[in-house]
């Protein structure tokens, strides 16, 4: 009896397996199967919510594709993406910053897109802002497509400006445009301090990016023009970092960064101005009681410049034709809908969208479009992280007043030279994209 039961059990199981196999292999089922696409991003904030909306819209327009959106914190995102790529488990489509592209492309983790470019996408390519175009290629091949362009802006607490009397003839807050105005506004805001509450003119909210921007504005760069040598200890970089420190120690308009969380200070109404990424916009926009504005950075050095970057979209290498085509469709869809994306902060990378009436009415994002020609991207070298890390370490010491800029940048230069030297000895790709 028991043996009979066992036989019946096996028979039922065999029937079920054959049934499933039959359904799966039938042409109708295969035709109805959706093309799966894994899409990895680091958008974990409000921008992630917007991306979910865009993917929903993509699903609506492309019912044959099923996108699985993964949102991973930027802090660990690149490690995961890189290790996944090395293990041959890259997501089909992924986001990465322009500065990271050479690292991934040089390791063979990004598919070439040249063959996918048709007349329409070539026209879209020509429509991109010029500063971005070189960031999409590696060794002469198209390997990425931009989703947006982003930069730092000057966030101002307008209530504090009014209280400080820093207004024009009709009572509108005067947003500083140059160094003199910036320092004067900072000093005026500082005077609002009372014995029980300190008010600061300016806060160093993101020390690394602000240090880079300050150096860029004084004409400094991380790498030489040919990308062969680090130039961290150039006089321009020394001046850029010294100026930032002077905001704390000489002009007394900014609190020491070590004892102040500038962004929170700004949100609490204790800091009048901060330079922060446009991606922080969602944080203040939701607070209707907070009267603020975001304007292009004032020119603090001898040229207008800001740290700039772009979120690039890449395809994994070795995809099936079907997945590659679906991935390309997703990339083109997101690029075409970057005006929707811009509503959470980052600006579209297409000139036609930037000049559209809809974008021009999108404030304060539209204010920052004038910064685009002056954006400085981090150099496109595979060892960027290491070189940048040396600069950031030096910048931290200067901002904290531990070391003068010349000393800390000299050490950073030596370390960065060693990194580049090792890279040259070991790899054939020491030079990158300009």
């Amino acid at each position: 009896m028991l043996r009979n039961k066992g036989v019946w059990g096996w028979l039922v199981l065999a029937l079920m397996v054959s049934g499933v196999f039959w359904i799966w292999s039938s042409p109708d089922f295969r035709a109805s199967r959706k093309i799966p696409l894994n899409f990895w991003t680091g958008f974990t904030g409000p921008d992630g919510e917007r991306m979910v909306d865009l993917i929903r819209e993509f699903h609506r327009q492309n019912p044959d594709v099923e996108v699985s959106l993964q949102r991973i914190d930027w802090g660990v995102y690149y490690n995961k993406l890189f290790v996944a790529g090395l293990g041959g488990r890259s997501p089909e489509v992924f986001i990465l910053h322009a500065g990271m592209m050479p690292r991934f492309a040089s390791a063979g983790l990004m598919a070439e897109m040249d063959e996918l470019l048709d007349t329409q996408s070539r026209a879209a390519l020509d429509d991109l802002v010029p500063v971005i175009r070189p960031k999409l290629q590696w060794e002469g091949h198209q390997v990425a497509w931009p989703l947006d362009v982003h930069m730092l802006g000057l966030y101002c607490n307008l209530n504090l400006f009014r209280k400080a009397g820093w207004v024009d003839a009709v009572g509108h807050p005067k947003i500083p445009r140059n160094r003199a105005e910036f320092l004067e506004a900072g000093a005026a805001l500082r005077k609002l301090s009372t014995p029980s509450r300190e008010i600061w003119g300016f806060g160093i909210a993101d020390p690394n990016l602000i240090a880079l921007t300050s150096c860029y504005q004084f004409g400094g760069r991380l790498m030489s023009q040919d990308l062969l040598q680090p130039v961290l200890d150039s006089p321009e970089n020394v001046r850029g970092l010294d100026f930032l420190r002077e905001l704390v120690g000489k002009y007394h308009v900014a609190p020491p960064p070590e004892s102040n969380d500038a962004w929170i200070g700004f949100r609490q109404g204790n800091i009048g101005m901060v330079m922060a990424g446009i991606w922080m916009l969602a944080d203040v926009k939701g607070d209707h009681a907070f009267d603020f504005d975001v304007q292009p950075l004032p020119q603090l050095g001898n040229q207008a410049a800001s740290f700039g970057s772009t979120h690039l979209m890449g395809l994994a290498p070795g995809l099936s034709d079907e997945s590659r085509e679906a991935g390309w469709r997703l990339i083109q869809f997101l690029s075409a809908h970057s005006l929707e994306w811009a509503k959470v902060g980052q600006l579209p990378a297409r000139q036609s969208l930037l000049s559209s009436a809809e974008f021009r009415s999108l404030l304060p994002q539209a204010n920052l479009a004038s910064e685009i020609p002056h954006l400085v991207f981090t150099p496109g070298i595979p060892s960027l992280w290491e070189v940048q890390d040396e600069f950031y370490r030096a910048g931290e010491k200067v901002l904290r007043g531990t070391e003068p800029a010349s000393t800390s940048l000299r050490l950073a230069q030596r370390k960065a030279e060693a990194v580049l030297e090792r890279s040259r000895n070991r790899h054939s790709f020491a030079q990158g994209n300009r």
Binding site: S106, A107, G108, E258, S259, Q268, W385, E396, F429
Partner: protein
């Protein structure tokens, strides 16, 4: 007696799942890492690993940042372990002396251990916030505003303090059990001899639980040497590298800069250092026992 349960075949069968996982996920990677430490393998390059012999170890000997990270780790161990041990010993002694409600206190003291490292670290990062953190609010009446995590001199002790709060429950529980194992007759004899509470602790309890204290000491030294999550989440290794411990440096070398060969060599050096400390502890505790 069940003969089948005692047969070697059954033992092998029961051990097999664990042994397989142990071999695949621990022994294999450990020796793979040892092999890798003799190669220059930069995953970023896409090139195959290149044999460099002891080159990575020689580089580690000259790497000032690695040395500093070892020093920071040593300092962390030096601050955290005694604090942790004294706290757990004091709490265990106190709770074991309570006539009732020991269970409630035991649960309360053990509770932080149940927190995930991310939760505990982020919670304390808020507590330590210079401008609106809990600790500086408490210090406000005295006009104090300490830069807990942003001053290079204060950051590491602050992380140690958080670690003591978060982990002392483990040693506390072990020590509490040890206290409860001490024979009541010994205390009765001491009371008849007129011993005070402190004397009973010093001359009765402590000698009895000393082997357990040694065990807790070893556990804490080993876990403190492996510290990573707290500084990584609370300070990111800053300010100015004051909390960049060896494990974080190895992590960055391996998984940020993808120098796998060099990171493996650093891991092995750290392993050997921890192994030496364990060996010293064993020799020390062996001598202690022989002395008795």
């Amino acid at each position: 007696m069940n003969r089948q349960a005692g047969s070697p075949g059954a033992a092998v069968l029961f051990l097999l799942p664990f042994a397989a996982a142990f071999l695949v996920f621990f022994v294999g990677p450990t020796f793979f890492g040892l092999g890798m430490s003799f190669f220059d393998w930069e995953m970023l390059s896409g090139l195959p690993p290149r044999w460099v012999g002891g080159g990575n170890y020689l580089e580690a000997l000259q790497d000032a940042r690695f040395h500093r990270s070892l020093l920071v780790t040593g300092l962390f161990v030096f601050i955290t372990v005694p604090l942790n041990l004294f706290a757990s010993l004091g709490l265990a002694a106190g709770v074991s002396a309570l006539p009732k409600r020991q269970g409630v206190y035991r649960s309360l003291i053990y509770l932080p251990v149940l927190l995930n490292i991310t939760v505990a670290s982020l919670l304390w990062r808020w507590f330590y916030n210079t401008k609106f953190g809990l600790f500086n609010k408490l210090l406000q009446p005295w006009g104090l505003e300490l830069p807990w995590l942003t001053d290079p001199a204060l950051a590491l002790p602050s992380i140690s303090l958080m670690t003591v709060w978060w982990t002392s429950g483990v040693s506390f529980l072990i020590l509490l059990t040890a206290f409860q194992q001490v024979s009541p007759s010994l205390y009765e004899a001491a009371e008849i001899d007129g011993a005070t509470g402190w004397q009973k602790f010093r001359f009765v309890s402590l000698p009895q639980i000393m082997p357990v204290v040694g065990f807790c000491l070893l556990l804490e030294v080993l876990s403190s040497f492996k510290v990573f999550g707290q500084p990584f989440l609370m300070t990111g290794g800053g300010p100015e590298g004051a909390t960049r411990v060896a494990m974080q440096y190895i992590y960055e070398t391996g998984f940020s800069f993808f120098r796998m060969g060099y990171a493996s060599a650093l891991s092995w050096i750290s392993f050997l250092l921890i192994f030496c400390v364990t060996l010293l502890h064993r020799i020390g505790s062996g001598k202690g026992r022989a002395g008795k």
